[in-house]
């Protein structure tokens, strides 16, 4: 039986204010093509790169989060290739002196090695209008800072690869290093996969490039593993090709063969002196690092969250941001998580609204939990209020304005109980004859009498006492 050996290359677009090597503004997303450029972005003659310190610090933070070695010399190299989306026809990247080296990430208890993470500038975007015999070029993205992270071939299954990417995204988002949003092209992935029999040397690897969703990473790996298995079982040999992923056909296709690989003619970027990362600089960055998902998971577990919920929340930047703020409003953590992961998530996903764009505030959710906890309203009432709270209503205001507060006045409940007991002698007799379940019919009537607003436990207690007393 064959075993898969998988390695990943992940590109993350950094959340900097300006581009990697110039002062050109970086917040181009959704803007008109070619409006976020400057002489350097356009590759005009005579322009020079300068290193964006913010990008370096974000890369340091990311490297530290992955347990990488980040100290010492780091250097930029030019990667030369002709392509119209690269205005200089070279990319400023890193070669043998990447900013971060030798880290790891635990995935489901397994240690996945991080070989390196380096900084580089992004290319522009070619647009191929349908039925046109020309292409268009948008250079807004050109020069944006990227981290390219390369793993060791430590991943064993497509699911594990997907889980790894999920963790990487959570870390990048928690640190504010990158939006890591594949849909916006801010997280892109190449996969390397080969098959071998355990105990034998690694097989020939195939690279699948430009995967822009976690799903296509998983699907393309599944497809390649199946394809390579067939090739090997038929006695064939896997060729070292670079593949693309056909999203429509859900299959890989050959982009270029090994012979067509470019020679990038890397050499040290003469316009940038080597960058020395001092221990002091590293410590400053470390001190300013936001909480990592793993630490958050531990903290939430200590705050009383179930293990599974702590994991789910900690590795989702929006959920954890929301829960952390809701917890400051004095509501029980697990109960908040129950709402958040249950009804709230359900309501949002039905409507396709992400949490960060919903009108629900952490304070309102906390108020809802407190109202139920303090027995001011019932769980059922809270659920009924949820749709309005999701639309931005303050549950405390709703309860006050509509007089929804639970009846806890014992005298009022006792009066209702008395009325119901008197009106139903047959049922009472039935109960006293030993049919305990019959009490539910009376309970329902009492609740109706009180407009559903009575505290159920109180009603049960008083009803039980009354039926017994009269006996």
């Amino acid at each position: 039986m064959f075993r898969a050996v998988i390695g990943l290359e992940v590109h993350l677009q950094l959340s900097t204010r300006t581009k990697m090597f110039s002062r050109c503004r970086a917040d181009y997303f959704g803007e008109e093509p070619n409006t976020f450029t400057d002489p350097l972005t356009l590759g005009l003659p005579g322009t020079l790169p300068t290193i964006n310190r913010e990008a370096v610090e974000l890369a340091l933070m990311f490297g530290l989060a992955l347990g990488c070695d980040v100290e010492g010399f780091t250097q930029f190299h030019r990667k030369n290739y002709f392509y119209p989306d690269a205005p200089k026809n070279y990319q400023i990247s890193q070669y043998d002196r990447p900013i971060a080296r030798d880290g790891h990430l635990m995935v489901g208890g397994r240690r996945i090695g991080i070989r390196r993470a380096h900084l580089e500038d992004d290319a522009g975007k070619l647009i191929h209008p349908t039925y046109a015999d020309y292409s268009l070029l948008d250079l807004n993205r050109a020069g944006m800072p990227l981290i390219e992270m390369v793993t060791e071939p430590d991943l064993g299954t497509p699911e594990e690869a997907r889980e790894f990417l999920h963790l990487v995204r959570a870390i990048a988002q928690a640190l504010g290093v990158s939006d890591a949003n594949p849909e916006e092209g801010k997280m892109r992935c190449d996969v390397n996969v080969s098959l071998h029999r355990p105990g034998e040397p690694f097989g020939t690897k195939v690279e699948v490039k430009n995967l822009n969703s976690f799903k296509s990473v998983q699907r393309s790996l599944e497809y390649e593993i199946a394809r390579q298995t067939r090739v090997l079982e038929d006695g064939g040999r896997v060729t070292q090709d670079t593949m693309g992923w056909d999203e429509g056909g859900q299959r890989t296709f050959v982009m270029r063969t090994k012979e067509e690989e470019s020679d990038y003619r890397y050499f040290p970027e003469p316009d940038l002196p080597p960058l020395v990362i001092t221990p002091e600089w590293v410590e400053r960055v470390r001190a300013a690092m936001p909480e990592l998902p793993a630490a958050k998971e531990r903290r939430l577990a200590l705050a009383g969250l179930r293990e599974a919920d702590a994991f789910t929340v900690a590795y989702d930047v929006e959920l954890s941001r929301f829960l952390d703020e809701a917890m400051t409003h004095g509501a029980d953590a697990q109960k908040l998580a129950n709402w958040l992961l249950g009804d709230v998530t359900g309501w949002l996903s039905e409507r396709g609204t992400p949490l960060e764009r919903s009108r629900l505030t952490p304070a309102h959710l906390a108020a809802l939990v407190r109202l139920v906890d303090g027995a001011a309203i019932t769980g059922k009432m809270a659920k009924d209020l949820l749709p309005e709270v999701m639309e931005g209503a303050d549950p405390e205001v709703l309860v006050r304005e509509r007089g929804l507060a639970v009846v806890t006045d014992t005298a009022e409940i006792e009066a209702a109980v008395a009325r119901v007991v008197e009106a139903n002698p047959a049922v009472v007799a039935n109960i006293r004859a030993g049919n305990a379940k019959a009490v539910n019919a009376l309970f329902g009537q009492v609740m109706r009498e009180l407009g559903g607003k009575a505290k159920p436990e109180l009603v049960r207690d008083l009803l039980g006492a009354r039926v017994a007393v009269d006996g």
Binding site: P39, P45, T50, P84
Partner: protein
């Protein structure tokens, strides 16, 4: 105009001369000397620049180069002006921004009147590779002015302007300065910002001035040096050059580089001998030093410069700017045709050479080895500077050669750089000082001597140039027979 920038700016500040008049004088001189091919284009707003300087003077400013007309090499960007680099591929390219060094000249009150002719992308030692035709030596128009900053040298030598800027990658300021009889200064790498200088070989390129007097050299250097946030390789500090003008050179130790004393023409030998006497007369110590790596300089230079050039020139593909080959639809074919049509022979030769040297399997044998030799040259120079304050060589082994004479023999052409490339490889400052004439075919041709100083000791070279000029009463600073 053969008056110095020092004289002109002083007169302007006294109100005796007007910048708007000086710009007209420079423009008429440019027209009268058009046959020399010194200029690729006139700057469209030169007169407006002069008017703006006058407004600044009226507002009480006293800029250093008040109203001084200046030519800059056509690889320096000036907003709204063509920046061709002497190449067909950029023949109609108009820059939307200004180089830091050009802005500094303007901030100092200078008026940029024209862009100087040059070898295409600064690749050449004779100005003959320019797509706009050669510049001619004012001392003998059948001869080259040297290169690659030939046009900037000629503009100063022929009295079009008192000052100009060139760029020096392997000798491209000093060699034409020597061949046209003016001063040419290559600062320490990083002294002058490269932002806006179109790159030929980034780790070697440095901008510097041409001038007809040592004090103009100091004046222009004071205007252009200094740190620049836009150039990561620029140095944090700047010397004060004018203060160095009057500094005594008595007791300084000069060492003549033995390997550079052989293989020169008799006029160059004579200039070297005379220089030795002048220095001794100034009370300096003169010795000789051996620089065994000198002979490897040119080889190392071409294997450092051309790989960088192959990458630096990759951007000229006609996609976003510059000329694009007509009638080609497919993108790769278009880029190839554009570069095939747009680049001249020498540029293609160097791009191919550099691409080859960086290619997988050759990198170690060529680029990597050249970087090691570069290190050895720098070490060799450092050792020489342990016993000497200033090193002395000829700027060029020979005076100006005839147009066409070396064009078919690139290796002979490259040999013209033998004494100059070491300064670029080591990043140290060097100046070419007018030091004599050699008569060939009945025409007097200027000869230059090169002084080299350790990194960061730029101002020392200004002291030397000024002392040498004073000691020889400016005997070698003559107007060419126009």
């Amino acid at each position: 105009m053969f008056e110095s920038a020092t004289t002109l700016s002083a007169a302007v500040l006294r109100g005796e001369r007007r910048p708007t008049d000086l710009v007209e004088e420079a423009l008429s001189a440019a027209e009268a000397r058009a046959h020399l091919g010194a200029l690729i284009s006139l700057v469209p707003d030169a007169r407006e620049q002069a008017a703006r300087v006058e407004a600044r003077l009226a507002a009480g400013e006293t800029p250093l180069l008040a109203g001084v007309p200046v030519v800059v090499k056509d690889n320096l960007n000036l907003r709204g002006s063509r920046t061709t680099c002497g190449s067909r591929i950029l023949s109609s390219y108009v820059s939307p921004y200004t180089a830091t060094v050009v802005r500094r000249l303007q901030d100092a009150g200078a008026v940029i009147v024209a862009k100087g002719n040059m070898d295409e992308f600064a690749m050449g030692s004779s100005n003959e590779t320019s797509a706009f035709g050669p510049a001619r030596n004012p001392w003998d128009v059948s001869r080259v002015p040297g290169g690659s900053s030939g046009g900037s040298a000629v503009a100063v030598a022929a009295g079009v302007v008192p000052l100009s800027l060139g760029s020096d990658t392997g000798g491209s300021i000093r060699q034409p300065a020597a061949m046209t009889g003016v001063y040419g200064f290559k600062p320490t790498y990083g002294r002058v910002s490269r932002y806006g200088l179109v790159a030929y070989a980034s780790s070697l390129d440095q901008v510097g001035p041409f001038a007809r007097t040592a004090s103009d050299l100091a004046l222009s250097l004071d205007a252009i040096v200094g740190p620049d946030d836009l150039d990561a390789t620029s140095l944090d500090t700047a010397p004060r050059f004018r203060e160095a003008l009057a500094r005594d050179v008595r007791g300084l130790r000069f060492a003549f580089v033995r390997e550079a004393l052989a293989g020169n023409t008799s006029g160059v030998d004579a200039a070297m001998a005379r220089t030795r006497e002048v220095l001794e007369g100034l009370g300096a110590t003169v010795t000789e030093v051996s620089l065994p790596t000198l002979e490897y300089g040119v080889a190392a230079y071409y294997l450092v410069a051309t790989p960088e050039a192959s990458s630096n020139l990759a951007r000229y593909d006609g996609m976003v700017y510059g000329s694009r080959a007509a009638g080609v639809r497919e993108v790769n074919a278009s880029m190839s045709a554009t570069r095939g049509e747009g680049f001249g022979t020498e540029v293609k030769r160097r791009v191919l050479m550099g691409t080859y040297a960086l290619s997988s399997g050759y990198y170690d044998a060529y680029y990597s080895k050249a970087m090691k030799v570069r290190r050895l040259v720098a070490d060799d120079l450092a050792r020489a500077f342990a016993d000497a304050d200033v090193l002395v060589t000829p700027t060029s082994p020979f005076p100006a050669f005839r147009i066409g004479e070396r064009m078919d023999d690139p290796v002979a052409m490259y040999a013209a750089d033998v004494d100059t490339v070491i300064a670029n490889l080591a990043g140290i400052p060097a100046v070419s000082v007018p030091a004599g004439f050699e008569t060939l075919d009945g025409r007097e041709l200027p000869v230059g001597v090169q002084f080299l100083a350790p990194a960061l000791a730029d101002e020392l070279l200004v002291s030397v140039a000024a002392a040498f000029e004073a000691a020889t009463s400016g005997a070698f600073l003559r107007e060419p027979p126009l």
